[in-house]
């Protein structure tokens, strides 16, 4: 019945569910709000499943396309469609939303309906970002998703939440405005079209490409985040509630990386080739510099936040290797980081809910009290350190392999993550989990409950499955990536 409008469902089901949750009103109906939210999130995930089962891996053309006029005066369309690059991201987002709703089940006791609604609405908006094929539609979703996120950090966050929310907002604002200007320029250059695929074939001079390259780079680079526009992320993570951190790390960062593939590479191929060195340098700095910075952290959330930046450095590095191995490596790394960072923030949430501290020094000897938790945490720590047979390995491996082909020294710097990633992750693990219990409050900590086992267990399966058998993921991506690379290889200079 809805076969023609799956993408619309994927976007609007969570949003409408969010509105329904909001309608439950105050915290007197908190239980109802939770159940509606869970039903909405599950439904949102279920409607996304046909995207996988009905996906044709043999074509690079957009699939599940919907197109309707929206603002005819400016030739703006409600135009949706997915390819092998965006489809996995929509699935990841719909999946993480379910987890986030479950994760906030007991922890959030204040403004429950609003909290759940914010996540559901954000989920729909993010799906909109990944599905949009119209520039203005993209822009609306892209900006719109920030509002719930801003509220999540600003309302349910920690003591310094207002500073963090503002910093996040300011960072993203400048880039977004420059992006809008670029889009309007593209509208005129393409003869009055906001269609992203039309832009992919629009002829552009080198100066225009270069200027737009930096505009888009700023807009998306802040989201990724790339060094040196990354400092909002640790602050936002530290202040955000667990669910906020999960979505922030698992999904929001991917929006930035996705922009590189949908806009920068295909629309500005000449500038991308010319300025690849610049992005590569920033990516390598992210890997090495941030790897070292993570080592100096005493707050677990900050540590994982910095680790996210380093891992996203691999994503952008892979993109600018201009090879299927590198580009798909970046994409695989995005999905994997979605699982692993979500799991790690959930782990920190599990600990925080019990001890109300994120400081490494307040813990120690957790394994004595929470052996099941320690086992899960070990798996995700190892995945974060890029151990083979976990998803964390696949993307890093592919990108290092791709980099070795382009320039040995790129691979050299990138491979330092093997040492730094293991060092900061396992050093934290040692101080938190191993040893004797020294803090009397740790003595009272209870092992994970059924709800937490469900959350961590599902993610553990994802992490291992993707590590042992990544083929289904790359199969979905490959044709679209090859097509994208063909676009990149074609000069668009007049």
């Amino acid at each position: 019945m809805f076969g023609q409008s799956i993408l619309s469902l994927v976007i609007w089901v969570p949003i409408l569910a969010g509105v329904a949750v909001l309608a439950t009103g105050s915290d007197r109906n908190a239980a109802l709000a939770r159940w509606i939210a869970l039903a909405g999130a599950l439904l949102g995930f279920i409607v996304a499943i046909p995207l996988v089962t009905g996906f044709d891996t043999g074509t690079s053309a957009m699939q599940f396309v919907e197109k309707a006029a929206w603002i005819p005066a400016f030739n703006i369309h409600y135009h949706l469609g997915v390819d092998g690059i965006s489809m996995p991201l929509i699935l990841l987002n719909s999946f993480i939303t379910v987890l986030v709703v479950i994760a906030g089940w007991q922890v959030i006791q204040d403004k429950v309906a609003q909290y759940m609604a914010a996540f559901l609405i954000m989920s729909g908006l993010i799906n909109g970002v990944f599905a949009s094929l119209d520039g203005i539609l993209f822009y609306v979703f892209f900006e719109g998703m920030l509002i719930p996120l801003y509220l999540i950090v600003g309302v349910w966050g920690g003591p310094n939440r207002v500073y963090a929310a503002f910093k996040f907002f300011l960072y993203t604002l400048l880039g977004s405005l420059l992006m809008l200007v670029s889009m309007i320029y593209l509208y005129f250059q393409s003869g009055g079209s906001f269609d992203i695929q039309t832009w992919h074939t629009t002829t552009l001079g080198m100066t225009a490409q270069t200027l737009m390259f930096f505009a888009f780079l700023l807009a998306f680079g802040v989201k990724v985040p790339m060094w040196p526009v990354h400092t909002w992320l640790p602050d936002a993570h530290v202040e955000a509630p667990t669910g906020g951190s999960v979505v922030l790390a698992a999904i929001t960062l991917k929006v930035g990386a996705y922009g590189f593939l949908r806009f920068i590479l295909p629309i500005l191929p000449d500038a991308s080739a010319e300025l690849a060195w610049f992005v590569i340098m920033l990516s390598l700095i992210a890997v090495a510099y941030i790897g070292l910075v993570a080592l100096a952290q005493s707050d677990m959330k900050k540590l994982i936040a910095y680790s996210s930046i380093a891992h996203m450095g691999f994503v952008t590095l892979g993109f600018f290797m201009f090879s299927p191995l590198g580009l798909e490596g970046g994409l695989v790394q995005m999905i994997s980081h979605g699982f692993v960072s979500a799991a790690l923030f959930l782990c920190i949430g599990v600990m925080y809910d019990r001890l109300h501290s994120r400081q490494i020094k307040d813990y120690g000897g957790l394994v004595n009290k929470m052996p099941v938790f320690a086992a899960f945490f070990m798996l995700f720590a190892m995945a974060n350190a890029g151990l083979p047979a976990t998803s964390g390995f696949v993307g890093e491996f592919m990108v290092i392999m791709a980099a070795a082909k382009v320039n040995f020294w790129y691979a050299f710097v990138a491979a330092t993550t093997l040492i730094f990633g293991a060092a900061y992750t396992l050093w934290m693990y040692k101080r938190v989990v191993f040893g004797n219990v020294t803090n009397p409050h740790v003595e009272e900590m209870k092992d994970v409950n059924a709800r937490e086992i469900l959350l961590l267990g599902v993610l553990a399966v994802c992490v291992l499955a993707m590590g042992l058998y990544p083929k289904p993921f790359t199969d979905v991506m490959h044709v679209s990536v090859v097509d994208l690379l063909a676009h990149v290889a074609q000069s668009k200079l007049p």
Binding site: P324, L418, N436, T474
Partner: protein, 665 residues
């Protein structure tokens, strides 16, 4: 059942045991855990015997199990390569693992983590088998990291012990430094060969012999040298070669069964195995081979010295392991790959034996590991005593015992090698023979002979005493059969495996195509000229230098530690600096701790505070905010709301505009 099913069963049977014991440990109980894991490894061992016979009959296999990932024409696979090298490794791994599994029943008898321990050692067996059975670099790396993970988990098995959780982190990170080189090597292989499949890469290797790579502008490096050294850096981490050796002695913090299995017999030899497997690549670069030989020689000699001053029974054996790994590495450098693998095999038996015997002693001593508080144990523990003696004799290269054939051939191979560094390496391995004999028998005499000193022992053991202290102060007694059984089972190959297999493995066609030696490297050919059978080789030994050096080492140890214990003390006094140098392991731990561990944390802290907080946040982010604020304050001043301010400004504006237009015209 066809052979391919058998190949699959070999790694999967231990994996199944590991999963059952690990996830359902509480359900199956202690007995269930050891039954299921031992059954798994036993099946794996029996299947390995069958595979070995099949390979001896001339059947090899190279095929895919499943496709891991495909990108266009680039395909990554999980697959098996079964040839004589693999078959031999499988046999060694499963046999030693089986012995260690049985031994663990006795050794970990009272440990609360019993099921977990069995799960880990079975998981290790699975990982190690995947490593040796691999037919491509990707799976090799999988196994490589997986054995590292299990090693990490097992060194830190007693997670409450501060030294253990320090040691396991250190082991993992030092190995990661090796892996850093390793993955870059793999990256270059993929970049230049376009495949990670062994067969494809090896077939293409000769055409790459003269290929160069520009690592630095205007410099051309031989590609095979760069790849060879990078891959070998991985081996240096895994096989604990100087200067990445620092983790192995500390790994002794783990329970003794895994010291035998992982840190002596199997995992640490993975690096040597890897180089032997890559012989078609290494044969193309004399520079890489020379590098390997130098590193091996340094490790063989200088790690041996450290064994002399150790008082912890396990650490003596650990330094002995380092030194023996150095011997294998030297042999690889001399292009005597088969000899290195041969020593790998004999060493696996006698070193596992020595470790398990040391564990037996540790049980009897209630987990006191200090050999100064032992002595005279031969009366109380006859089986441990005899098997230890066999292990020690095999280690020092007593003619006709297993270690003799492998070590003697290594020394000869280095002598015959035509690499420029072979002369130095030769003296290192020859002097190493004396050192080995001395520290081995120093330990042997201090433990099993001389005065009984165990009643004076107050020093606390290294491992938590899981046995109850009820028999403390009583006389030591022999350990139960689950402990002594494996000792006896390992003593047999330690005695005889060298004599039985030297001819087939080194001079026969055993390795066939599994190992490739270029015509330029004549060592194996020359060795073959001088070889006239295992018996003749044993008899001939008495006129060779290494034999008399070994005799001298044993004699000196007997004199020092049985007759005149005051002499070594006096020497330690007289040469204080040297003694301190050895006791502090050349200060490598301190150096690394300062430069790398502290250095990285300092640099990280510096970048964070100065880079992130002061510059990016301080100047740019908050600076922008301040700038905007200041600007808006300035602008605010103009918007005073007084009409005469605006009127005045307008007038000035009109005046300025008029002036400008006037000038234009």
């Amino acid at each position: 059942m066809d052979m391919q099913t058998l190949y699959l069963i070999i790694p999967l049977a231990p994996l199944f045991g590991a999963i059952v014991a690990g996830l359902f440990g509480r359900l199956v109980g202690r007995t269930g855990a050891h039954v299921v894991t031992i059954a798994g490894v036993a099946i794996s061992f029996i299947a390995s015997v069958l595979v070995f016979q099949d390979v001896r009959a001339g059947n090899t296999f190279n095929g895919t199990v499943y496709t891991w990932m495909v990108l266009g024409d680039l395909s990554f696979e999980i697959g098996f390569l079964i040839d004589s090298l693999t078959a031999m490794m499988m046999l060694v791994v499963t046999f030693v693992s089986l012995m260690v599994h049985i031994y663990t029943i006795g050794y970990m008898h009272d440990d609360p983590g019993y099921q977990r321990f069995f799960s880990y050692i079975s998981l290790f067996t699975f990982s190690m088998l995947m490593l040796v059975m691999s037919n491509n670099f990707l799976q090799l790396f999988f196994g490589w990291e997986a054995v590292g993970l299990v090693s990490y988990l097992l060194i830190g098995f007693w997670y409450q012990k501060e030294t253990a959780i320090y040691a396991n982190l250190k082991a993992f990170l030092v190995n990661r430094v090796g892996d850093f080189g390793f993955i870059l090597g793999i990256g270059l292989v993929l970049a230049y060969f376009g495949s990670l499949d062994y067969a494809t890469v090896f077939a293409k290797a000769p055409s790459m012999a003269t290929e160069t790579i520009t690592l630095w502008p205007d410099t051309a490096w031989s590609l095979m040298t760069v790849i060879g050294i990078l891959l070998f850096i991985g081996a240096m981490g895994k096989s604990a070669q100087f200067p990445l050796h620092v983790w192995l002695p500390d790994s002794m913090e783990g329970p003794t069964p895994i010291s035998a299995l992982i840190h002596a017999a199997t995992m640490v030899t993975a690096g040597n195995f890897m180089v032997a497997r890559m012989s078609p690549l290494y044969e193309l670069s004399d520079v890489a081979l020379s590098f390997i030989m130098v590193i091996g020689a340094i490790t063989a000699l200088f790690m041996g010295f450290l064994g002399i001053v150790q008082n912890d029974i396990k650490r003596v054996v650990a330094y002995s392991t380092l030194s023996q790994l150095g011997y294998m590495t030297v042999a690889l450098g001399a292009s005597a790959y088969s000899v290195a693998v041969f020593h790998l095999m004999t060493h696996a038996f006698f070193k596992a034996l020595l470790f398990l015997a040391a564990g037996s002693v540790i049980i009897a001593m209630h987990h006191n590991q200090d050999i100064r508080y032992m002595g005279g144990l031969r009366k109380y523990m006859p089986i441990t005593w005899i098997t230890s003696l066999i292990g020690s004799l095999a280690l020092i290269g007593t003619p006709f015992l297993s270690g003799f054939y492998s070590k003697e051939t290594i020394i000869e191979a280095v002598r015959l090698s035509n690499l420029p560094v072979a002369d130095i390496a030769y003296w290192a391995v020859v002097i190493g023979v004396f050192v080995t004999a001395f520290y081995s028998f120093r330990m042997y005499f201090l433990v099993f002979h001389g005065k009984e000193r165990f009643h004076q022992g107050h020093a606390h053991g290294n491992e938590p005493d899981t046995h109850h202290d009820e028999h403390h102060g009583g006389t030591p007694h022999e350990t139960p059969w689950v402990v002594t059984g494996p000792l006896l089972a390992l003593a047999l190959p330690s005695l005889a495996i060298g004599y039985m297999t030297v001819e087939a493995m080194l001079y026969g066609d055993f390795f066939g195509n599994a190992i490739y030696v270029s015509d330029r490297h004549q060592v194996m050919h020359d060795l073959n000229q001088n070889f006239h059978g295992a018996a003749a080789m044993g008899l001939h030994a008495v006129v060779t230098l290494p034999f008399w050096l070994a005799v001298a080492g044993v004699g000196l140890a007997a004199f020092f530690y049985l007759k005149r214990p005051d002499i070594p003390a006096a020497i330690a006094q007289r040469f204080k600096f040297l003694h301190q140098l050895l006791l502090n392991k050349y200060w490598f731990d301190e150096l690394y701790s300062w430069v790398f561990a502290k250095g990285a944390r300092f640099l990280g802290g510096f970048l964070w505070r100065r880079g992130d907080q002061n510059v990016i946040d301080g100047v740019f982010v908050n600076g922008t905010a301040h700038l905007v604020e200041r600007f808006s304050r300035l602008v605010k001043a103009f918007q005073s709301g007084y009409i005469y301010h605006y009127a005045f400004a307008m007038l000035i504006g009109v005046f300025a505009l008029v002036t400008w237009f006037a000038r234009l015209n």
